[in-house]
């Protein structure tokens, strides 16, 4: 059957766009199909989140030539401070936090920040421009993909535009509810957290010095992530039944609530842009591949934002897929054969599952006011803080630098 490209990427979110760019960088031709028109994805009200890009993920962005355009607007994370404790206690004079952790990038072997905070909107702008500039990528949007048909040497998908695309491999990057995954009958393990992620950007008087703060409050983690120009991005995990009332507050009252949690260390605060909220949930596909199809990004997994690792897992999926496919093509093998896909699956499933369950346990352990758990936490955090190898491991985890690193993410 006549092929339009080597690979079809279904989905043009942060995952699909990066997959198309990375695969074309490896020399594959790509058709990327997305339900959303490209210009819509960079509108100010499309996605208000920020993404913590771990330092190993940034290596991939550099190799794809995307980092030069992102660097100026990226907030470097030099230190991560993790504090366990209720807000009221934390700001009482003379109070000692029950648990405290400090991750300092200068302790890494490599001279690099632990990561960077980038606004999703900026990421989308830079990737859109690169997609448009690429000769090896054809973007078809807005269009949705229909039911997949596989043949002995190819995979075909009909599009809502009436066109049918045929290639050697289909990459499903169609998000957490992945219609491609569902239609392939691939099951997921999933549950929702009784928590909502409230996201907004604040401007503050003082410099954050590149310090990311995470306070473990009884309702869930409250993260302050350093952006450029004296701004920080907040990811405030709140009990789902209370989030609505916070979101309904006037800007003034909302800032007051933030200040209660945030404390005075950055001086006066003001809101910079709208507030956003996202329901939080966990899902993990039981298989990361189907017939001539690989799942990447949220189509394969979705985890609690407690460690800011959701997208970074997807980056690793994409880089690992690049390695496997390049090896198979270099050996003259069919890139859509089940052997290549099984190799990708083995590589990514274990790593994703460990991080997914790890963040789940962290959230359960910390989003809690139970005195016994608080004791466990403070002991655990004291331990991590004092034991260098343990602290180093956590830092490498935060840098997405653990496990077998795909070549595009290696130093």
């Amino acid at each position: 059957m006549e092929k339009q490209a080597d690979i079809i990427v279904a989905g043009g979110g942060l995952g699909g766009s990066l997959a198309a760019l990375a695969l074309s960088h490896q020399g594959f031709t790509v058709c990327m199909v997305d339900a959303a028109p490209p210009a819509d994805k960079t509108l100010p009200d499309f996605d208000g989140r920020t993404t913590a890009l771990a330092y190993a993920s940034v290596r991939l962005f550099r190799r794809l030539g995307l980092w030069d355009d992102l660097a100026a607007d990226a907030g470097a994370i030099n230190d991560i401070l993790v504090t366990d404790g209720r807000p009221a206690d934390r700001f009482r004079k003379g109070h000692q936090a029950t648990g405290f952790l400090h991750f300092d990038s200068s302790q890494l072997a490599e001279d690099t920040p632990l990561g960077w905070i980038v606004e999703n909107r900026r990421l989308r702008q830079v990737m859109n421009a690169a997609l448009e500039a690429s000769e090896a990528i054809r973007v078809i949007a807005p269009a949705t993909v229909g039911p997949v048909e596989t043949g002995p040497a190819s995979v075909s998908v009909p599009l809502s535009t009436g066109e049918t695309l045929t290639a050697s491999l289909l990459v499903a990057a169609d998000g957490r509810r992945s219609p491609l995954r569902e239609r392939a009958g691939i099951r997921t393990l999933n549950w929702s957290y009784p928590q909502t992620g409230i996201v907004c950007t604040v401007a503050h008087e003082k410099d954050h010095l590149g310090i990311a703060q995470e306070f473990f409050l009884p309702s869930g983690p409250f993260a302050i992530l350093p952006l450029t120009n004296n701004r920080s991005s907040l990811v405030w995990t709140e009990k789902a039944d209370r989030a609505g009332s916070f979101l309904a507050l006037s800007d003034e009252d909302f800032v007051t609530e933030i200040e209660k949690r945030f404390g005075p260390y950055l001086g006066a605060l003001s809101l910079d842009g709208p507030r956003w909220s996202y329901p939080l949930a966990f899902h993990l596909a039981t298989k990361f591949h189907g017939d001539r199809m690989a799942l990447v990004g949220d189509a394969a997994h979705g985890i609690h934002p407690i460690a800011g690792q959701g997208y970074n897992l997807g980056v690793k999926d994409i880089a690992a897929l690049c390695d496997v496919l390049a090896e198979h093509r270099g050996a003259g093998l069919d890139i859509g054969h089940g052997t290549a896909l099984a190799q990708y699956d083995r590589w990514r499933q274990f790593d994703s599952a460990s991080l997914a369950f790890g963040t789940d346990v962290l959230n359960r352990l910390f989003s809690n006011d139970n005195p016994a758990l608080r004791l466990v936490r403070s002991t655990g955090m004291g331990l991590v803080n004092r034991v260098d190898p343990l602290r180093n491991m956590f830092m490498k985890q935060a840098g997405a630098d653990l496990g077998t690193l795909p070549s595009l993410m290696q130093p």
Binding site: P152, A153, G330, A331, G338
Partner: protein, 266 residues
């Protein structure tokens, strides 16, 4: 009894292309014919060969490129080379070699395998000249010798290893290169390749290998040198259960591969 003795005798004395000698072990060919439909199933009986394929193909590609002074990272690095794959089975190696640009002839003693290979290559749009024949018959047909001859995972299934290797070597042109991959006859090979692969992990159907037929690298070297080849030390292809991956190593005690070259005529 006397028949086997005669055959051994004849291989020692007769010229290697003797039409009287055969490398075919009928029982082995029946076994492979029965599995013919399975060749390309990534989860079927040949799963171990599929998992093993990327590293051995990459190794072979690199060695061929080094020998003929080609860029291994070119899109079709083997363009124009004539390659013979002896015991090609379903074409697990022939097809990739053709994709890399080689002009491939694939031969197998089992007709059913050749049919599977032909059908699959047609589906993939890859051209390979598949034939149901043996190395000795091909040599007797006066075919032009090849730039590259592959002998992968076959010697442990043939009736007469010495004859088989010498016949294969005679199909290499002067200045050409040949590869032999098989399983060593060591306790470790017996324990891991035979038992782990066939009985414990159920990778291979029980009875695929008869360990008495495993071949030591020295034996292969001896046969090849006898046919005028220059033989390199073997490299190991080692399975690491923890990472579930194959690696090229210096440990030739189980799976190994030998590269041999035929000197140019002076």
């Amino acid at each position: 009894m006397s028949e086997t003795a005669n055959k051994a005798e004849s291989t020692r004395q007769a010229p290697v292309c003797s039409p009287s000698g055969t490398t075919v072990d009928a029982g082995e060919i029946d076994k492979f014919s029965a599995m013919a439909a399975d060749w390309w199933d990534p989860t079927g009986k040949f799963k171990p060969l599929h998992k093993f394929n990327p590293i051995r193909l990459t190794h072979i590609r690199n060695e061929i490129c080094a020998h003929f002074g080609r860029d291994p990272n070119a899109p079709r690095p083997l363009e124009g080379l004539r390659l013979l794959d002896i015991g090609c089975g379903g074409g697990l190696v022939s097809e990739p070699m053709a994709r890399l640009g080689a002009e491939v002839t694939g031969i197998d003693a089992a007709e059913k395998n050749v049919k599977t290979a032909l059908t699959h290559a047609a589906e993939q749009g890859v051209t390979v000249d598949y034939r149901a024949t043996t190395a000795e018959d091909l040599l007797a047909s006066d075919i032009e010798p090849f730039d590259v001859v592959l002998n992968l995972e076959v010697v442990e299934h043939v009736a007469d290893v010495d004859l088989f290797l010498k016949t294969s070597a005679n199909l290499v042109r002067p200045g050409g290169i040949m590869f032999v991959a098989t399983i060593n006859r060591t306790l470790k090979a017996f324990a891991t390749a035979k038992f782990a692969a066939e009985y414990i992990l159920r990778w291979l159907p029980i009875g695929t290998h008869d360990q008495n037929k495993f071949v030591k690298p020295e034996e292969a070297r001896h046969a090849l040198e006898g046919a005028g080849m220059v033989v390199e030390p073997p490299v190991g292809m080692t399975y690491q259960p923890l990472s579930d991956k194959w690696h090229v190593t210096g440990d030739a005690s189980v799976n190994y591969m030998i590269t041999a070259t035929k000197p140019q005529l002076s």
